[in-house]
């Protein structure tokens, strides 16, 4: 399974990468939204784990651009949003794209991994 992690907190990014690699996934990781868009354009990922507050642009910008520019299908199944601030606005926007939202910190690591790999 090929997975992209978009997360600007390096410790989270690295740890998640390692955890998923142990589950035999091929994992790319980046802290920047623009770089993520490039990666999405050039690769075909099964899952994109996306933080919302990135240094350059928002996670939603990444989703929107992937959808319109690269006519990325299956936004719904591909993108999983991870965020520490799941305000009603965030949840509403996420449900517009049909994306799953996981709160940071995860309630249960096992469940989180299951969501990523399902």
């Amino acid at each position: 399974m090929k997975i992209l992690i978009i997360e600007d907190e390096l410790l989270i990014q690295k740890s998640l990468k390692k955890l998923l690699e142990r589950k035999n996934c091929e994992v790319d990781a980046t802290a920047l939204g623009h770089e993520a868009i490039k990666l999405i354009k050039d690769n075909s990922y099964d899952r994109i784990i996306c933080d919302l507050m990135l240094q350059d642009i928002s996670g939603f910008d990444v989703i929107e651009e992937s959808k319109t520019k690269y006519t990325l299908n299956d936004i719904r199944t591909k993108f999983i949003i991870i965020t520490a601030y799941s305000s009603p606005q965030v949840l509403e926007k996420a449900s517009k794209y049909g994306c799953k939202v996981l709160n940071k910190p995860f309630d249960s690591m096992v469940e989180a991994i299951q969501v990523f790999l399902s």
């Binding site: 410790l11 989270i12 740890s15 910190p105 690591m109």
Partner: protein, 536 residues
């Protein structure tokens, strides 16, 4: 008793009762009461909060105790009648006498001076002046009179007002001071109160028909009141007499309404000014149009308060911002730490390393829960949920660990049920406990109490309420209850003085209460909460 006997031997010389210039006989026929001396003076005073009209009666007397007692009983009867009459006439809601019980011992203790200031309080619900005037039109004695005009001139003001009222309509009009003065003098000169209609006709006051009129000079206003029949049938002598008989009460009521009105206006002016100043501190006070005395008192207040309150509100805002930033900045790296420790745990570690990783993991979880709790505390949305009180208190103790670490905690229940659940706002209640615990911990630390202890007793009462008794063994609270709960009251050098005030407000928001209980040792707060709480 010995003293009382002494007094009864004294000679009766006089009994004076001061009732201002209120003539009781105009209310009640003399055959319904009898008092040794005619009541000659009364003082009508306004209650401090301007919510009602109070009649304060001061009487000076001399004489045997029996005589005094009988006089006072008569006075009581008389006042009750007066009270009933007033409430019937003016459709006011009566409030029972606050102090109608006459205690002979009290009488005696003040007797040597010959003056006993006993208060009989008559109170009337204050509402709009138009409602009061309409109630006058409903009095049987004046059933032929259909309209009331009230002309008022606030002393020093450049314009005057006219309110015209009948049972359906209220109109207002404004006149020059000169026009008002002409009318005022005409009414004043008219001896039988049915003063010349011609003086009214000449003006544009829209006063139609035969009328009864009276002028009053009040402390802040000059007033003319005119009742008209809307026809030209002459007033009967009885009507004139009736009108005369209500003049004094009229004067009191009108005075009260006008005082209240000008008081309200000043408050409004005051608030407006306060807003302007706070919005634009550079604005010159003297450029604003306002009453001079008001400006002076405001300047004083601004000097005294603004520095302090601005400072505190800034401090509070800053605290909120700081907490938010901390939460934003700390929760992500903490989560990173959590994830990486999870990873480490799965590595092949020797027991020592494993234990260390576990400790790190525990520390991370605690930090996360602190952040979580803090953001819960500052959550703005007001949701009700089921609260396990003991659990919540425990959470708050964890949150205040840095302050409350060395304090012995004892939580007990009055029932066998180990946890009492109520419905309410968890965040608010947590904040209340947070403030109480912090205060208590700091006070005990400051006074170097040897074995600091906080006892919390949770009691489920039969009234569908839960009582929480919060007691510490610290230095106690010397200040008064009203002081400690008022904003910006603090005994700490760096306190905001807002903690307990916030507690009180939050408890009230939850339809509960927080009281300071008198205690010989330590601080004692009693909190009461309804078991079911809807928040609004």
């Amino acid at each position: 008793m010995e003293n009382l006997n002494n007094t009864s031997n004294q000679e009766v010389t006089s009994l004076k009762i001061f009732l201002g210039d209120l003539d009781l006989e105009s209310f009640i026929p003399t055959d319904q009461y009898s008092i040794t001396e005619k009541i000659s003076e009364a003082n009508l005073i306004l209650e401090k909060d301007h919510k009602g009209l109070d009649l304060e009666i001061t009487y000076l007397f001399n004489g045997s105790l029996n005589r005094i007692k009988s006089d006072l009983n008569n006075l009581k009867t008389c006042l009750n009648l007066l009270f009933k009459t007033l409430s019937r006439h003016y459709l006011c809601k009566p409030k029972p006498f606050i102090n109608s019980k006459i205690n002979t011992k009290t009488l005696h203790s003040l007797y040597p001076d010959g003056i006993i200031p006993t208060l009989f309080t008559l109170s009337f619900d204050k509402s709009d002046i138009s409602l009061f005037l309409q109630s006058l039109l409903k009095i049987e004695k004046f059933e032929n009179y259909k309209t009331i005009h009230l002309f008022t001139h606030e002393k020093g003001s450049s314009s005057t007002n006219q309110i015209t009222i009948d049972l359906e309509n209220i109109d207002t009009e404004s006149w020059s001071v000169q026009t008002f003065t002409t009318l005022f003098n005409a009414v004043k000169k008219s001896k039988n109160r049915s003063f010349g209609q011609s003086s009214l006709k000449a003006s544009n006051f829209q006063v139609i028909g035969t009328c009864l009129a009276h002028e009053f000079i009040l402390q802040t206003h000059n007033v003319v009141i005119i009742m008209t029949r809307n026809d030209f049938i002459a007033q009967t002598p009885q009507e004139i007499k009736n009108f005369e008989s209500i003049n004094l009460p009229l004067k009191f009521f009108i005075n009260q309404y006008l005082t209240q009105e000008s008081y309200n206006n000043k408050i409004n002016q005051f608030e407006e000014l306060a807003d302007q100043i706070l919005d634009n501190p550079s604005q010159q006070l003297n450029k604003l149009e306002m009453d001079k005395t008001l400006r002076l008192s405001f300047e004083k207040l601004v000097k005294k308060q603004s520095k302090k309150s601005n400072f505190h509100s800034e401090k509070l805002n800053l605290l909120g911002e700081l907490l938010n930033t901390l939460r934003h900045e700390l929760s992500n790296p903490l989560f990173g730490l959590q994830l990486s420790t999870e990873l480490l745990k799965t590595e092949d570690l020797d027991p020592d390393q494993h234990e260390m990783v576990n400790d790190i993991s525990t520390a991370i979880q605690r930090s996360q829960s602190i952040i979580e709790n803090f953001s819960d505390l500052y959550k703005t949305n007001a949701q009700t949920e089921s609260i396990d009180i003991a659990n919540l208190i425990q959470e708050v103790f964890t949150l205040t660990k840095s302050e409350s670490r060395s304090i012995k905690q004892e939580i007990s229940f009055n029932s066998n049920e180990p946890n009492i659940n109520i419905t309410g706002n968890k965040t608010w209640l947590a904040q209340v406990f947070f403030n109480l615990i912090i205060n208590s911990a700091q006070a005990m630390k400051y006074s170097r109490i040897d074995t600091p202890k906080i006892t919390i007793k949770i009691q489920d009462t039969t009234k569908n309420q839960t009582e929480i008794h919060f007691i510490d063994n610290g230095p106690g609270i010397r200040e008064t209850e009203s002081d400690i709960f008022s904003p910006f009251f603090t005994t700490k050098t760096d306190g905001t003085g807002l903690g307990l005030n916030i507690c009180k407000n939050l408890m009230e928001k939850m339809n509960g209460s927080i009281r300071l209980i008198k205690n010989d040792k330590g601080a004692y707060f009693k909190l009461v909460l309804p078991n079911e709480n809807t928040n609004n």
